[in-house]
């Protein structure tokens, strides 16, 4: 690669044609590099295929033309079609791309092409035989079915190069649409914008930052004024800013559907606001929907079904009525949760489901435990029944400490005439535990 040179002149210099041409090429190449590096190639305006139905006595076909327009190719070259141009059937035949299937689509391709030309004479004397002008023209061509797939593989010039499309330079082809061809009539029969997933490519901007000057930055999927085309607008507001997503009102304005504000508010202007974890129609994905109703509104949580509505696992209406399909595990003021069972001495009694130690510690929940010692049986284990055939067991403690640990001891008395035996052993107790949730403070 070479460094860029620009011509400079001095008084008395004898100027050659290369000096003057270098001055022009410097500016032209600079602009091409800008267009190539700062923008992406594509159609800037117009260049639309138009089909006009035609009919004869035996068949029908269409006359196809390309509207005037402007494009920039991958070399940064400007490709201008100044007037609407008819697509010549003879050109198609000469392209020799036709196949027998009348339903296939043939890409219509456009490229910039320089043509040397003589200057318009200003007098009849001293006319030059050398071309002194270059016509920045264009060339139309037809590709074979599927040729559009190769367009993305075109290679841009190195960064120091100027625009392409010169007399001895390869061309960068732009797709402007597709035509269908009837070989019997030797006529076009239809047009299309897309084939094999390849469609018309419009110019873009390469940038990490785009800054608006007037407080609003708008992105559009279609030209302004295209009714119902998606529009996104980032706007400064008196309280911060908003990001609106909506559709074109047909006059370039936006009809917002969804607005996100910098204060964290997300607003729907279409009556519903839906959060969904997956793509549409994937059954089982969680969904949350806030919806206006004639009576007010509802908040619904559920799983995605085959339809647009979530299954109603939980719903809150405008009156605060809560409807759930499952089991309520949370707490509400005045609720009582109960656990019951039997435990032996030393066990820390488990809390009812949904109740935690933190809730007890915070005072949100009061705990009440009722303990009833279990009958200990006829004799303690390992009792010396040969010497002490009769035993009586009496609970002497059945309490629960601050850690909910059960203390349950049985005093056993073994009888053997005058010398009785007394032992204190661990026992068991039935318990019922009430966890009472305190109500809200008035």
């Amino acid at each position: 690669m070479a460094l860029i040179q620009r011509p400079r002149f001095y008084e008395g210099q004898i100027l050659g044609s290369t000096d003057l041409t270098a001055g022009l090429e410097y500016a032209r190449s600079q602009e091409a590099r800008h267009d190539r590096a700062v923008h992406s190639w594509g159609i800037a305006d117009g260049l639309v295929l138009v089909a006009t139905p035609q009919a004869s006595a035996t068949a029908s076909y269409v006359a196809v033309s390309l509207t005037a327009g402007l494009a920039f190719d991958g070399t940064g070259r400007e490709v201008l079609v100044p007037d609407q141009v008819h697509l010549d059937e003879k050109l198609f035949i000469r392209s020799n791309v036709a196949v027998g299937d009348p339903s296939v689509l043939y890409p219509v391709l456009l490229a910039g092409a320089d043509t040397p030309a003589l200057a318009q004479p200003t007098s009849h004397a001293c006319t030059s035989a050398q071309a002194s002008r270059t016509v920045e023209s264009y060339k139309l061509s037809f590709g074979a079915p599927g040729a559009e797939l190769a367009l993305a593989g075109q290679v841009a010039p190195s960064i120091d190069q100027g625009a392409g499309g010169g007399v001895h330079q390869s061309r960068w082809w732009l797709l402007v649409g597709y035509v269908q061809w009837d070989a019997t009539q030797a006529r076009f029969t239809a047009i299309s914008d897309t084939a094999n997933g390849v469609t018309r490519h419009y110019v873009g901007v390469r940038a990490d930052e785009v800054t608006a000057q007037g407080g609003t930055l708008v992105a559009r999927a279609r030209r302004a004024g295209t009714a119902k085309a998606p529009v996104a607008a980032l706007a400064q507001t008196p309280t911060g800013g908003s990001l609106s997503l909506g559709v074109d009102d047909g006059h370039g304005g936006i009809v917002p559907s969804l607005v996100a504000y910098t204060d964290g508010t997300v607003e729907s202007d279409v009556g519903t606001l839906t959060l969904r974890s997956g793509v549409p129609l994937v059954i089982g994905k969680p969904m949350l929907r806030l919806a206006e109703t004639p009576a007010g509104g509802t908040l619904t949580f559920g799983l995605q079904t085959t339809g647009p509505q979530p299954s109603q696992l939980m719903q809150v209406d405008e009156h605060g009525n809560l409807t759930i399909a499952g089991v309520f595990n949370g707490l509400h003021g005045g609720a009582v949760k109960v656990a019951s069972g039997v435990a032996t001495d030393g066990v820390s009694l488990p809390l009812p489901d949904g109740i935690t130690d933190d809730q007890l510690a915070s005072g949100l929940v009061d705990l009440h435990v009722v303990v009833t010692p279990r009958p200990p049986g006829r004799a303690p284990y390992d009792a010396d029944l040969a010497n002490f055939p009769i035993w009586i067991g009496t609970p002497i403690s059945a309490t629960v400490d601050a850690d909910r640990r059960l203390r349950c001891l049985i005093q056993w008395v073994g009888f053997r005439g005058a010398a009785d035996l007394v032992e204190v052993l661990g026992g068991a107790a039935d318990y019922v535990m009430f966890a009472v949730v305190k109500g809200a403070t008035p």
Binding site: A343, P376, L409, A428
Partner: protein
Amino acid sequence: MTEQLAVIYLNTTNHVLAAVQQSATTPTLATVIGSGGLHVAGVRGVLAPNVAGYGAATSQEERFVIPTAELSMRALAADRDAIIQPHAFIVDTTTLAKLPSPGGYRDVSIGLTQTHVQIGSTDPVNPGSLSFATDTQVFIQVEGPTPGDRRVMRGTFPAGQTQLFKFALTVEPGGPQAPIAIHQRYFILVMIEGKSPDARTVTL
């Protein structure tokens, strides 16, 4: 569906130490042990007046806090007797099994020094005549003189060896020896594989 009983047992010997049965749910070990470990009291021991060969007697005041690491919990088919007297049972793989009853007699004598727990035979003349037919696991815990001050040991009675077995006092099983002070009162818990739990009190 079979009613389930959650039993808490010693890893070393499978002795059941406690049991709990709660409606609708099966609690976890952490929730039923509470902080620090499982509190165990009311374990049967040898009553005074003592038989000469039994060694230390029970005070019926023994209390132990078994470290959580020494315990497991399992839900097994409920057994009414295991609920009211869990110390009479062991976990036998997937069921509860009742320990054989010595009928008020003890199999071993238990003693305590500043450095060891001594377990021997009940023969007062020859306490070193204790032996086991198979390798037998034992869990020993010494608690005292203040709550939280404890020694925890695990060991084995090797098959066929006849002697007075001595287990060095350690704060944790396998840890360095940790002697205890004299003129203090200590609770001893001895759990020998296949035999009933035994609790004693010793003042050195």
